[in-house]
């Protein structure tokens, strides 16, 4: 009956309770939605980095990543690639030969990172081929060597589709050679810095130019079916290829991983602060409710209701009041998060700034079930803490003076 009394007591002063319910609902709604927005942005960035740049796992000769030295190459990359492709859970594998270089046109020149790939394989590990703003991903057949470049670089070198450019290359002996390439495609990824630096050529074109055998590569990119499998597959690859350096996306871009965990923490703190602010409103309302009911509480204590029961009656009222608001707030947020999670929020107006730091211009908010659960628990905990003050006030009332109305 205590539960029944507490619940009904919440609705005695409808206006007062509704104000709190609405405040809690709005506060949580705002908090949860912005959490979901931030989380969506972070998740999306992780997704896009994995699916355009890093893949889930990369394999290199040890130390290659430090100096990009061609001496540190994998001679049998192709057999490695087919071995790894056969592993369960692996979606796609692509062998890449990376080399830093200088790209020149008659107008200008710029430092670039060459990625020599097998276009078909690369297309399976990276979505970059969907981000073409001119030309296509190596579809056009040309007599000279085809090259796909980022938009930033195209602007810098003042080249268009079908323009020619020269790459300064280095053989593994340190000899300088030149290669002429024809632009067949220009891409625009979500990271404009990446677009200023990155070019793709075919491995079959580059290898002869630098006198390397056909199956040579410096890196192998692995895309998995599920991001969650990364750790497991890492362990598998590590035991299989002990002399290679194997890195997961979290190691390749530690900032990304850090950002993701920092985001979760920030989100919890953010909602926590909102809840603490709301707690003051809840405490205030409940103290008022207790003061209004001094005589009634005195009567209850007089006829034999134990202090513990009175305490829990007020605690329950506080929890019910808060949870009612929280339910409305959470339902509203879930609906809104799901809606915008599907349709996305277009940040077109702010795009320039956002784009250059590697975020997509359309954000798909999303929050994990775990996060909703954490927030729900936080509401209950905060409500219980907030309830302590009015509940203690209620049991501190002396029955004799309370019935006298003091």
């Amino acid at each position: 009956m205590l539960i029944q009394i507490a619940w009904r007591n919440v609705w005695r002063n409808k206006v007062r309770s509704l104000v709190v319910v609405i405040a809690v609902a709005l506060g949580l709604w705002a908090g949860v939605f912005s959490d979901a927005f931030m989380q969506g942005m972070a998740d999306q960035q992780i997704y896009s980095v994995i699916h355009t740049k890093t893949g889930h796992i990369q394999l290199n000769e040890p130390c290659f990543l430090q100096n990009h030295d061609l001496q540190l190459r994998m001679d049998h990359a192709d057999s490695l690639t087919s071995e790894i492709s056969a592993m369960p859970g692996v979606a796609a594998v692509s062998a890449i030969l990376q080399q830093t270089s200088m790209a020149s046109t008659s107008a200008s020149s710029a430092g670039v990172m060459i990625n020599a790939v097998d276009p078909d394989d690369q297309q399976k590990v990276s979505d970059l081929y969907t981000m073409m703003v001119a030309g296509s991903w190596f579809e056009r057949s040309t007599r000279s060597n085809p090259i796909v470049i980022g938009q930033g670089l195209a602007n810098k070198l003042k080249v268009k589709e079908k323009s020619r450019m020269v790459l300064t290359l280095q053989t593994d002996q340190g000899e300088i050679v030149y290669g002429a390439f024809k632009v067949v495609g220009i891409f625009k990824s979500q990271d404009s810095e990446y677009d200023k630096l990155t070019v793709f050529v075919r491995r079959q074109d580059l290898l002869p130019l630098i006198h390397l055998p056909e199956s040579t590569a410096t890196s192998i990119t692995v895309l998995l079916n599920n991001t969650e499998d990364t750790e497991v597959k890492m362990a598998e690859l590590n035991s299989r290829y002990k002399d290679l350096q194997i890195q997961s996306w979290t190691e390749i871009t530690p900032m990304l991983q850090m950002m993701s965990s920092a985001m979760t923490l920030t989100n919890i703190i953010f909602v926590g602060i909102i809840l603490i602010a709301l707690a003051f409103g809840i405490i205030n309302t409940m103290l008022m409710a207790v003061m209004d009911r001094t005589r009634e509480i005195g009567m209850l204590a007089s006829i034999g209701m134990k202090p513990g029961q009175i305490f829990w009656m007020i605690m329950l009222e506080t929890v019910f009041l808060s949870i009612t608001g929280a339910i409305f707030g959470l339902v509203a947020s879930i609906l809104m998060v799901n809606w915008f999670g599907r349709s996305g929020i277009d940040l077109g107006m702010l795009a320039e700034g956002i784009n250059s730091v590697g975020f997509s211009t359309t954000v798909y908010p999303g929050l994990s079930t775990a996060m909703y659960a954490i927030i729900a628990c936080m509401v209950v905990v905060i409500a219980l803490i907030a309830g302590i003050f009015p509940a203690r006030r209620a049991i501190s009332l002396k029955p004799a003076s309370a019935v006298r109305g003091e």
Binding site: M1, E296, L300, S302, I303, V403
Partner: protein, 229 residues
């Protein structure tokens, strides 16, 4: 045998700037089945005395024996339990829980006592019948008249099967007709079930119905007479 024995009871309120001697050495005995009115001018200590007898407040000195047990020495916890199971209370107002129906208000005290469901249901029905408010069972207190509310309060007090019922000015807010109805019902319960009622009042009608009248002044009993009517 006396149900209640009060000896040398004093109560001084010290929280005020000038100490108030609300009770100045009260000695009284109450037998089972009494129907007693405590009367006297405002501030003479009626409420204070009833509070001491009900274990709602501690006296400054003296004792209150209920069936030979000194309730003034009880610790807070056991005292609440004692009140619940032994004393019925009726106040001037704010007797009922506004969010519960008439029926639930009466049930509530028995649930605090952990009585079994069947017993609760039967007793509630019976008591509401006796008090003549069966038709208002499912109504909330605010839809009842003052007299009806007090009748529910009596039913609630009886529901816990107390040793005696203390009523502090139970009719103060009632019109004369409701006062009569309430008093008649209480007198009937007193006659038929030997329920002990001790109440304070300013109301001449109530005094007329009482079988014993204790008059107080300045925290002292100045007269104590049995009346036969």
């Amino acid at each position: 045998m006396a149900v209640i024995e009060i000896s040398s009871l004093t109560k001084t309120y010290n929280e005020t700037t000038v100490p108030v001697h609300a009770l100045n050495g009260v000695d009284l005995q109450f037998e089972k089945g009494e129907f007693t009115a405590i009367v006297g001018p405002s501030g003479c200590g009626k409420t204070t005395l009833l509070n001491m007898m009900g274990g709602l407040d501690a006296p400054s000195s003296g004792e209150v024996l209920v069936e030979n047990e000194d309730i003034t020495r009880m610790k807070a916890g056991p005292l609440v339990e004692y009140r619940l199971n032994n004393i019925g209370f009726i106040f001037q107002s704010y007797n009922l829980i506004p969010v519960l129906t008439v029926e639930e208000n009466v049930q509530f005290i028995m649930e605090l006592q952990h009585r079994n469901k069947k017993e609760v249901r039967d007793r509630v029905d019976h008591l509401l019948q006796v008090m003549g408010i069966s038709d208002k069972k499912t109504v909330r207190p605010k839809f009842l008249s003052g007299g009806q509310q007090q009748r529910v309060a009596v039913a609630r007090a009886l529901a816990s099967k107390p040793k005696f019922i203390l009523a502090d000015e139970p009719t103060a807010n009632l019109d004369s007709k409701s006062t009569d109805t309430l008093l008649d019902l209480m007198a009937e319960l007193n006659e038929q079930e030997q329920m002990t009622f001790i109440f304070s009042t300013h109301d001449q009608r109530v005094m007329d119905k009482a079988k014993r009248i204790i008059t107080m002044e300045d925290g002292k009993v100045i007269s104590d007479v049995k009346v036969s009517n």
